[in-house]
């Protein structure tokens, strides 16, 4: 589903991502772990076509991001760590706008908006402007918007920040369900316990380079993900 091959991105003199390669198959949840400034968000933004990269290749569902960015964006959904939504719209107008852009039919969008708004318990708030939403509610709204067009790949940057425990649990359940139905998820997190419990694969990035990548069992071996992460960090220093 997602194939990152030798990705390199430089900002001035600094290599934010250096020759990073990883692959995520349909049905897999891949956690992306790294310290602050390790290159997680740069990688994620490159995958989403939000950042032009200097070297390497990224394909999503066989489509190269560099040359077919619009087609790639049709099959993915991106949720940033701090979703700044359109504060001039009500939540339902925002969702309608997103559905229009992704070409989701009237009936289908109605079903999906109502279904997910009920799941995330914000249905009664849909007529409110998004400016009145809390961080968690914005996060929920961004998640609903991301699910509207039934994407093949969902890319999330710190998806659990700001969510209440119930919403976090719901998100984890939806993530698993989507992957069981052939979708794929690539998300960054600092919460190693969550990654350990939820992910099929894990990628650890340190100072722009991929320090470890593979199935959760192969990466952590007999120890915990936390121990492996700190060992790799120490090794990189």
């Amino acid at each position: 589903m997602l194939n990152i091959s030798h990705l390199t991105k430089t900002f001035g003199d600094k290599k934010a991502v250096d020759d990073l390669s990883l692959r995520i198959a349909p049905g897999e949840i891949c956690g992306f772990i790294g310290h602050n400034g390790a290159g997680k968000t740069t990688t994620i933004k490159s995958v989403c076509g939000l950042l032009q990269f200097d070297g390497g290749e990224i394909t999503v569902d066989g489509l190269p991001v560099k040359t077919r960015a619009i087609d790639v964006k049709r099959v993915i959904a991106y949720i940033p760590d701090n979703p700044d939504l359109y504060e001039f719209m009500t939540a339902v107008k925002f969702l309608n706008f997103v559905a229009d852009v992704y070409g989701v039919g009237a009936k289908l969008r109605e079903e999906r908006i109502n279904k997910y708004a009920e799941i995330f318990e914000i249905k009664s708030d849909l007529a409110q402007p998004t400016s009145a939403f809390s961080h968690g509610m914005k996060q929920k709204l961004a998640l609903i918007a991301a699910l509207l067009h039934d994407p093949k790949l969902i890319i999330m940057d710190e998806p659990f920040v700001g969510l209440d425990p119930k919403a976090s649990q719901t998100v984890k359940r939806i993530m698993r369900e989507r992957c069981d139905n052939g979708g794929a998820i690539f998300f960054s997190t600092h919460v190693l316990e969550v990654a350990e419990k939820l992910c099929d694969n894990v990628a650890i990035i340190s100072h722009g380079k991929l320090a470890a990548f593979g199935s959760m069992d192969s990466v952590r071996g007999n120890s915990s993900l936390e121990s492996v992460f700190f060992e790799l960090e120490e090794g990189a220093k």
Partner: protein, 538 residues
């Protein structure tokens, strides 16, 4: 701490003009000195224009008032002009920059006194107020000295008063902004309230501007009566006038007490209540969502509606983006109603300049209004922190940029074209002149629409703390306004000096229309190709 905050605020203010759009790494670049000098020149040109108007105004009052023995009323009027301009320009500025500033939460979370934050914001607001005051006050001073009524002590009192008058204006503006903020806390349609008040101010301003000559005539004729009323009811103005015109220390101290003391009290009260005001979000009564059948639309329509929703969400956007087009329609309707007066007035100028026909003058008026409609010049910048949304969606850069140009055409181009059509009914021109009246605003609007989007794409700013900043202070907006004026003047000079003997005015204007449309098409092509690539790097 206050001086550090003032420095930051000033840096922000200056950087909106002196720095240009973000680079790929996010750091803004400094503008070239040539551009900064050009901007400074345009700014001075504008200020000099207004100052000249005030020289004429004060020249009409000075001798009349001093000879009538009410010299103090001359400076009283100067103080009233300054006070009015400062209040009007700072009410909504105070609301957005003091009470609704986006960095209030950030600053309040730091170990900074609320009074320091407030004082820094007030000082930053005072700087442009002094600039506005200079545009009115210096002509008043110059005219007074020129007519030989001046004295050294008077100049000293004038200079001291110069520092104090904006304090009173800012006191009133902050108080009104505070009331407005409190009154709209629970309102669902607070934008409409703000828009209505803004439009009321605008209409008042237009009324004063359009009737300035007759009002000044009345003022000169009834100076004594008015002066008596001011003396009785507007004491600070009276005291200030007497202090400068008659060099009275006692009156100046009285004036100081009546202006500086309320300012200090207000700052004190606001400091106490500042945290409560800026952190109270009572919100409007919650509207509960009721399921309704949903409708789908195409991408172009969705993008246009998104742009329109953003435009309609903020009364300051509406006012600043559409002021020119509203003026064009008002001018067209006024022309149809007062057609005979207009044509008679034009006859006087027509004797001086041949070829100054009503359709040509109307076309020029509408074009001037078009130049003031700078909507497209800020539509990329106003994306702000939400830019990631549209960039992560399957929307081509061209589609996104086209929607912005289309919004300009809808809210600026359409009204000016309608204004042209309205004028056709009263102008009584030939077929060519009638085509000119409609086609010229339409073609010029096309140029403004695509030109503005292109400029903003080249010079975007996403780091604003107050969302009106890119609409009012953005470089693309300034270039659009002054650049289009310069273009019109250049075309006028080209015709006057080089082409007058070879082409009729209307034929020349129609050729210009073709050039405007061709330039617009070239800009649209640039947006579709290079512009789209640039959009992807934002």
């Amino acid at each position: 701490m206050t001086d550090a905050l003032v420095k930051v605020n000033l840096q922000m203010l200056l950087s909106s003009v002196l720095r240009r759009g973000s680079t790929r790494s996010g750091a803004p670049k400094r503008r070239s000195p040539a551009v900064a000098v050009l901007l400074g020149f345009f700014g001075l040109f504008m200020l000099a224009d207004f100052a000249f108007l005030f020289v004429m105004t004060f020249d009409g009052m000075c001798t009349a008032f001093f000879e009538a023995g009410i010299g103090w009323f001359y400076f009283g009027m100067e103080a009233m002009f300054v006070f009015g301009l400062c209040v009007i320009t700072s009410i909504f500025h105070a609301q957005s920059a003091v009470f609704n500033a986006k960095d209030n939460d950030l600053l309040l979370a730091m170990p900074i006194r609320a009074s320091s934050i407030l004082t820094a914001r007030i000082i930053t607001m005072l700087i442009p107020e002094y600039l506005f005051e200079a545009v009115i006050g210096l002509p008043a001073l110059g005219v007074w000295l020129y007519h030989g009524y001046g004295s050294v002590a008077g100049v000293v009192f004038f200079a001291l008063g110069f520092l104090v008058i904006p304090l009173l204006a800012l006191t009133v503006a902050c108080l009104l902004a505070w009331i407005l903020t409190l009154a709209t806390l629970r309102m669902r349609r607070k934008n409409i309230v703000t828009l209505v008040i803004s439009v009321a101010f605008f209409i008042g301003y237009m009324y004063l501007a359009m009737n300035m000559q007759s009002l000044l005539g009345q003022l000169a004729a009834n100076g004594g009566t008015l002066a008596h009323k001011f003396q009785s009811y507007v004491l600070p103005v009276y005291y200030y006038g007497v202090a400068v015109a008659e060099q009275s220390v006692v009156r100046f101290l009285g004036f100081l007490a009546m202006t500086a003391v309320p300012f200090v009290i207000l700052i004190y009260l606001l400091s106490i209540r500042f945290i409560a005001i800026v952190t109270t979000k009572r919100g409007a009564k919650k509207t509960v969502y009721r399921e309704k059948p949903m409708k789908s639309a195409g991408i172009s329509s969705a993008l246009f509606r998104r742009e329109f929703s953003h435009y309609a969400s903020n009364p300051m956007y509406i006012l600043n983006m559409s002021i020119g087009s509203v003026m064009a329609v008002i001018a067209a309707v006024a022309f149809v109603i007062k057609r005979n007066d207009f044509i008679a007035a034009l006859g006087i100028y027509g004797q001086m300049m041949s070829g100054l026909t009503p359709p040509l003058v109307l076309t020029l008026i509408i074009l001037f209004c078009c130049s003031s409609s700078t909507c497209s010049g800020s539509l990329v910048s106003v994306e702000g922190k939400s830019l990631w949304l549209i960039r992560s969606m399957p929307v081509s850069g061209w589609d996104a940029l086209k929607a912005k140009a289309n919004l300009h055409l809808a809210i600026c181009g359409l009204p000016v074209a309608i204004a042209g059509v309205i004028c056709v009914f009263g102008a009584g021109g030939t077929l060519t002149e009638n085509i000119m009246l409609v086609a010229t605003p339409a073609a010029f609007s096309l140029l403004m629409a695509y030109g503005g989007v292109a400029l903003n794409l080249l010079h975007p700013r996403f780091d604003w703390t107050n969302e009106v900043q890119p609409v009012k202070q953005g470089l693309p907006v300034m270039i659009m306004m002054f650049g289009s004026w310069a273009l019109l003047v250049a075309l006028g000079l080209l015709y006057g000096f080089a082409l007058r003997s070879r082409l009729s005015v209307s034929s020349f204007v129609l050729v210009c229309d073709v050039v405007f449309a061709a330039l617009a098409a070239a800009l649209a092509h640039w947006l579709k190709t290079s512009g789209e690539r640039r959009w992807e790097t934002l």
